[in-house]
Amino acid sequence: MQEIRIPQGMRDLTASQSRRKEALRKRIEDVFESFGYEKICTPTIEYAKTYQIGFTSSTDFSEMYRFLDQDGKMVMMRVDMTVPIARLCATRYSTANPPFRFRYCSEVFKIRHTFAGKRSQVTDCGIELIGLDENSDIEVLYTALKVLQQIGTKEYRLEIGNSGFFRVAAEKLNLSEEQRTTLADLIDRKSLVELQEYLEKMDVSDEIQTFLQSLPLLGGGSEILNEAMESSFCEELKQEVRKLMKLDEDLRKLGVMDHVSYDFGKIPHLDYYTGIIFEGYVSGVGTSVLSGGRYDSLVGRFGRDLPACGFSIKLDVLLDVLDEVEKKVIRIGYPKGKETEALIYSETYRKDSCVELVPWEKQQIEVIL
């Protein structure tokens, strides 16, 4: 028998799954629309060089689908939308007046390990607010919370961190590049055992050891902000904590604190983040469903220096926790041979609903109840 399969990490969606995904996409996009974001589209393939510029040091080509174009240049399937949008904004909007509010809903591609049960193609739906500084973080966070609320699961949580916190600490402690990378990885993975072993081998004071060892668990509700303030060993670190305190105050005014928590052990995987970073979680999904942050230097790498902040939602991981969406359709029966008459008959119904023509044994053309 002929073997017919789809490539690894790919999935087909049935009609009912697609319907759910569409309904979710619409709910999310309506929120974005209500905050003034306009949809933009970029090509599915980009030059590999574009990502090298965007990600600088952290470009990991092993998880990208790459091939050569007609000129022998390396191209790749886009792995995210933020880098293409930074490129688009810096080049196509090079003379327009900021701020720009862009939204997108696009397929992105990343090669996942074989047999790990993960998707290599996912739909990313998100926004980028470009041209406004960190004072606008609150707007982006509020939008993220509104969207999480719209997804409609019982419980959801937005966890906020500050990429500046670890960066400042690393600078103050004069960590070498190797130490910084290792510690960032261990702290972000909350690998408490290895972190302790690594710190014991490092030549730093007990106080600093305790500080670094405490980072992975320095998370929770608003109360953790005071704790972070106390453990901050210099004025610059305190300043980074104050930024989150200010946001905390604003989120309180907006009445959304029930769904917010903080994590000072959150360290970004992408080196373009410069300020806040955040992730959204909903009950029933084992990975983060929303992620984003502030990236003030990324657009500049493409030639127009603009601060920016944004996030995206992974639609596909949410499908399993969403309720079935009912198909709304009027069915009209007709006898075989009367297709044209049935089309004429259905025209008035089609104005405000969808109509499905169904051949049946009866001789009449009428709505099936």
């Binding site: 390990h113 049960g117 419980e155 993975r189 055992v193 928590s261 979680y281 084992g286």
Partner: protein
Amino acid sequence: MSLAVALTKGRLEKSVTAMLEECGYGVERLKDKGRALVFEDTKKDIRYFLAKPNDVITYVEHGVADIGIVGKDTLMEGGKDYYELLDLKTGECRFILAGLPGNNPLQKVGHITIGTKYPNVAGEYFRTHSLDPEIIKIDGSVELSPLLGLCDGIVDIMETGTTLKENGLVVFDEVCRISARAIVNKVSFKMKREEVMTFITDLKEKVNEKC
């Protein structure tokens, strides 16, 4: 909220169950289990299930288990998409480099071949020694491979060293120490922080008492 805890079948099962019992968890059903795979805690709102080491990681990464108890050997070889919060200091053993006496792969001139069940661990170990051996994946009784002349040495787990000795192999180096660890799904840690931390803290106190 209730917790789902994945425990590793086999080597770690007994000591971890005993530890949970000492912490006051209702794990009677785990001790007398027959062929069942899922067990309710008789005192707390926890569900345990038993799985092979690699599957414990998979279940935790996907979030169907909130917490997993699994050996560091398996963690070192597998994925990394979880939080590793505690060393249970039980099920302790070592990764070692072994081979036939006088044939230390680290001192060999020329191409080195290494047999192992743990290609990632072996690869990483040799990288730290700036060596680039050929690694051959062996699935069981790794000790056999140098005896048959398939490779210059092996990287494997050693508990007592008896198997090595009986086959005339000697240890050349310790790669690292390993023991049982508690890993946590990233989202569970956010959404069920209190429940997760209670479980981890209970175990941690027990670990500290013993050391």
